[in-house]
Symmetry: C2
Subunit: 340 residues, 2 copies
C-alpha cells in the first residue's frame, strides 16, 4: 500500500477518490489547476461544482501549486480530462521519484495520435513505461462511491505486483478492486463505452424505449469488442467489469454525463449548446472522433460509432441515425452485419 | 410466412404479439382460459389487466374455447406461464395438424423436471419434437412492442427453415427478428436472467446504486453463461440479444415484473404478499428454484442464484445476501470466485 497520494484533478471522480483514500487514513493531496476554485474547496470542504453535498475531510490538502501537491508523493492518481493527460505528464515529470506509481482514471484516447492514455504516459514518462503505470476502471459513478454504495472496479497494469499495490491502496469494504492483466482491453473498453452511452442517450432522447436501448447496448458491446480484439485486447475483459459492467452503468444511469448529453441531443437541442452547458468534459465526443478514425484505420465495422459520429460531426438527424441502426438488413444473429 | 395464427394466453406478451401479428394482416385468434375475461376483452377491445391503453384490433378473434381458437391455425404462439406449458401442450394435442408450427414465448424451466420448455413440448408432442418448435426471446417488453418502439429479438429453432418461417411471420419494420440456431442457449439465457433481475431488484430495493447493480449484472451474466455452457449452450448466445440484451433490459426497466418484485422484497415487504400482489406470474421465482437445483446437479457455482434462493425460500435477510455477494474474497478478475 502507498501512504502518500496526490490526486491530480478535482472533478467529481478525483474528489471522490481523494475522499475515499483519506477515509483509509492515507495522506492525500488534491490538486486542481484553478487556484480560486482550490481555495473555495479548501475553505468550504465541499466541491459544489462537481460533487455537491459531499464533505471533504480536513486531512486532505488542497492546492493549485503542482510542486507542493507532489511533495512526498508515492502515488499519483490522474483524474484529468483525457485530452489533458499529455500536458499533465509533461508538467509532473520534474517532480517524479524513481518509485512513483501512476494510476490513470481518465477514459479516452488522445484524439490527435489515437493513442491509449497509458501510451501517452509512456511517451512522456519513458522511465515509467510499462512498469509503474496502472489504470482504474469499471462501473463507478463518483456520486455513489462518495456515499459508499457498494462498488466493484478493476485495476489493470502490465505487472501483477503494480496492480496489487494499487489494489491494496484503493480497496475498502464498499469499494472492491479486482486486478486484471489486460491493460489494453481495460483502457479500450473504458474509453469506447462512452460512445455507446452517447448513442443510447440519443435513442432515449428521441423517446425510444428500453427494448431499443438493450438492443443497442448488445450491439455496442459487440462493436467495442471487435475493435478491442484487433488492437490486442482480450475478449474476456469485455465480458467483465471494465466491459459490460461499465457499459451498462454508463448507458442506464442518470449519473452518466455522456448519456445525459446524448439525451439532450436526441431531444433536438443544438450539440454545441448541450456540450457547453454540461459544465464538464463529455469524453464520448472526442472518443467518438478517435474511435471513428481507428475503426477506419484497422478496417473494423462499428455502426453505432459511425452513426454517432455522423450526428455529432456531420449534422445527421438523430432520428435517421437510430432508424438506420435499427433497420440493418442481415437477420441471422452473429453475422457481422447484425452484430455490427 | 404463416397466415393463420393462434395465440394461447392473453397476458401482456400474448396480447402484444397478437396485436403485432394482426397489424400485418394475418388472421389471429387469441385464446385465454377465463371465459369472462375473454368476453370483456372482446367487448372492450382492450386488455386492462395486462396491457392497459392498447387497442386490440377488431380483426383478432378472442375466445376461451380451445378447439374453436385452434380452427384453421398454421402456427401456435404459446404465451402462458412456464409451469403451464405441459398442461397446455396436452390440451392442444388433439387439435394439431401435421404442419402446425409452435412458437414458445414463455421463459423458464419446468420446476419438477428441470426441463427446458422446448423439452417439455417435445415430451408431450413427440411428433413435433425438434422439427416444428421455435422459441422467441430477447429484450422485448410487451408495453413497448405494443406502441411500436423499435425492438430486436431472436428466434431459435433446430432447423434454419423453421426459424426463418417464424422470423418472416413476426418481422415488422419496428420488430426486428434475428434467427439463432442455439435453441438451448436462447432458452437458458431467457429463463435465467429473471433470477438476476430479482437479485438486482433486491439490491435496488435496499437502496444500493447503479454501480452495485452493474457489478451484479456483470457477475450474473458470468454465472448464467457458466451454467449454460455445461448444459450445451454456445457462449456467443450469452453475448447477444437473448443473453446480455434481455438481461440488461430486465434488470434496468420498470416494465420488468421480476425486477419490481425484487425491489419490493429488498424494501422489506413480505415475499408472499409481494408475489400475490403482482397480479402476474413472477417467473424468476420458480426459475430460481429450478436453477438452484440444476446448479447443484451439475456442480456449477452460481452465487447470485444461491443468494436469491436463500432470500426467497430460506428467509435470509436481503441485506445479508447482497453484502455477501459484494464481499467475496478473491480479487483477480476472471477467477472463478470473482465471476461467480
Amino acid at each position: 500500500m502507498m501512504n502518500h497520494i496526490t490526486v491530480l484533478g478535482a472533478g467529481s471522480w478525483g474528489t471522490a477518490l481523494a475522499t475515499l483514500l483519506a477515509s483509509k487514513g492515507l495522506a492525500v493531496n488534491l490538486w486542481a489547476r484553478d487556484a480560486k476554485f482550490c481555495a473555495e474547496i479548501a475553505r468550504d470542504r465541499e466541491n459544489p461544482r462537481y460533487l455537491p453535498g459531499i464533505k471533504i475531510p480536513q486531512e486532505i490538502k488542497i492546492c493549485a501549486d503542482l510542486p507542493q501537491a507532489l511533495k512526498k508523493h508515492q502515488m499519483i492518481v490522474l483524474s484529468v480530462p483525457s485530452q489533458s493527460v499529455r500536458e499533465i505528464a509533461k508538467a509532473i515529470k520534474p517532480y517524479l521519484s524513481p518509485e512513483t506509481m501512476i494510476v490513470n482514471t481518465a477514459k479516452g484516447f488522445e484524439t490527435e495520435t489515437l493513442l491509449r492514455l497509458s501510451q501517452v504516459l509512456c511517451e512522456e514518462l519513458p522511465t515509467y513505461c510499462g512498469e509503474q503505470i496502472g489504470v482504474l476502471s469499471g462501473p463507478s459513478h463518483a456520486e455513489e462511491v462518495a456515499v459508499r454504495l457498494p462498488t466493484a472496479v478493476v485495476v489493470a497494469a502490465n505487472h501483477q505486483d503494480v496492480a496489487e499495490t494499487i489494489q491494496d491502496t484503493f480497496m475498502t469494504p464498499f469499494f472492491r478492486v479486482y486486478t486484471n492483466m489486460d491493460l489494453v482491453g481495460v483502457e479500450i473498453a473504458g474509453a469506447l463505452k462512452n460512445i455507446i452511452a452517447l448513442g443510447t442517450g440519443i435513442s432515449d432522447g428521441l423517446g425510444y424505449g428500453d427494448n431499443t436501448k438493450a438492443a443497442m447496448i448488445t450491439r455496442g458491446l459487440a462493436e467495442i469488442t471487435r475493435l478491442g480484439l484487433i488492437l490486442g485486447a482480450e475478449a474476456q475483459t469485455f465480458a467483465g467489469l471494465a466491459g459490460i459492467g461499465d457499459l451498462v452503468v454508463t448507458c442506464t444511469s442518470m449519473h452518466s454525463r455522456n448519456r445525459r448529453a446524448g439525451i439532450q441531443i436526441g431531444q433536438g437541442h443544438p450539440i454545441d449548446q448541450v456540450l457547453s452547458k454540461m459544465g464538464m468534459v463529455v469524453e464520448g465526443v472526442s472518443t467518438t472522433r478517435a474511435a471513428h478514425a481507428l475503426a477506419r484505420k484497422v478496417g473494423v465495422s462499428m455502426p453505432i460509432t459511425e452513426e454517432t459520429y455522423q450526428v455529432l460531426f456531420e449534422g445527421k438527424e438523430p432520428v435517421e441515425a437510430v432508424t438506420s441502426l435499427m433497420s440493418r438488413c442481415k437477420t441471422h444473429e452473429g453475422e457481422k452485419e447484425m452484430l455490427g
